[in-house]
């Protein structure tokens, strides 16, 4: 785990990394003042993104940050990997679509839980997903 002004950065390559990330996400959400229900939901969205890195991107990083926009504060998660990338982003984010053995619920639930979710990816160029949740 690395810590800089940009927040907490975690290397992700194996399932045990996920538990550490989820734990830290919850601590951060708690400190920011998210209520318990939202802490759990947002942490599960973080877990979706890191699980996808392990499953499809092989390895990458998860960054957790506290962000500000005018008078709002929010939580941001950035999932980055240099894996194969996603060729059809819209399809990937559709409920029930999975190229593997998953249920295909991960990305669609991230979209539902978070206020903003941006997926940047191209076949062969890795994936970067940025999701934000504003407090209030």
């Amino acid at each position: 785990m690395g810590k800089n002004s940009d927040g907490l950065v975690f290397e992700v390559s194996e399932p045990s990394d996920n538990a550490t990330i989820v734990y830290n996400a919850r601590q951060m959400l708690l400190q920011m003042g998210f209520d318990e229900t939202r802490q759990y939901l947002i942490a599960s969205a973080v877990s979706e993104l890191s699980t996808n890195i392990i499953r499809y991107g092989e390895k990458g990083t998860i960054t957790l940050r506290c962000i500000r926009k005018s008078d709002k504060i929010g939580f941001e998660v950035i999932a980055r990997d240099c894996g194969p990338g996603i060729s059809d982003i819209q399809k990937a984010a559709t409920e029930n679509y999975s190229s593997g053995h998953g249920l295909g619920l991960g990305l669609s639930s991230v979209k539902r839980i978070m206020d903003e979710c941006e997926i940047k990816s191209a076949r062969g160029h890795g994936t970067c997903i940025i999701a934000k949740k504003w407090l209030m």
Partner: protein
């Protein structure tokens, strides 16, 4: 006759012919997978026809953990028992699937009592053998010690 018995070392319990499973600890997929195997073994051993799995301790239920529970439910059904999941955290189901109700074939209940209620009215599961004379009925009645009050006129 005692109709409640603990399945030693597992935290599981048999109540009214129903295997009651508390899921403790955190969201470790490996541990949950192992627990699933243990549940299947206990369903076979106890011949339970109903299984209540309390997952209220699982606060962070992502799609991966959810898929493990779903496979668990399918496997339990294949053994001829009906599983019900209790204690899914608020908002979790609706974040995972569009409609709260569409959790695959998974039955859910808010509390363990609700789960018992659902299982009592469950008709899609394996049907009990038909009762021809009234003797088996009397036996069933006696075994049903958990129901304290009956409409005894």
């Amino acid at each position: 006759m005692n109709n409640r018995s603990a399945v030693s070392g597992t935290g599981m319990d048999v109540v009214e012919g129903c295997l009651v499973v508390p899921v403790v600890g955190n969201m470790d997929p490996e541990i949950i997978t192992r627990l699933g195997r243990e549940i299947l073994a206990q369903v076979k051993a106890t011949q339970a026809k109903k299984v209540i799995i309390n997952i209220s301790a699982i606060k962070i239920l992502d799609s991966y953990i959810f898929s493990i529970f779903r496979s668990m439910a399918t496997a339990i059904t294949m053994l001829g028992a009906t599983p019900v999941f209790v204690g899914i955290q608020p908002g979790v189901a609706s974040s995972l699937v569009d409609l709260d109700m569409d959790l695959g074939d998974i039955l859910t209940a808010v509390t363990t009592n609700d789960a018992f209620e659902i299982l009592r009215h469950q008709t899609t599961g394996p049907k009990p053998p038909e009762i021809v004379n009234d003797k088996p009925y009397i036996n069933n009645y006696k075994n049903d010690g958990n129901t304290k009050e009956r409409e005894n006129g």
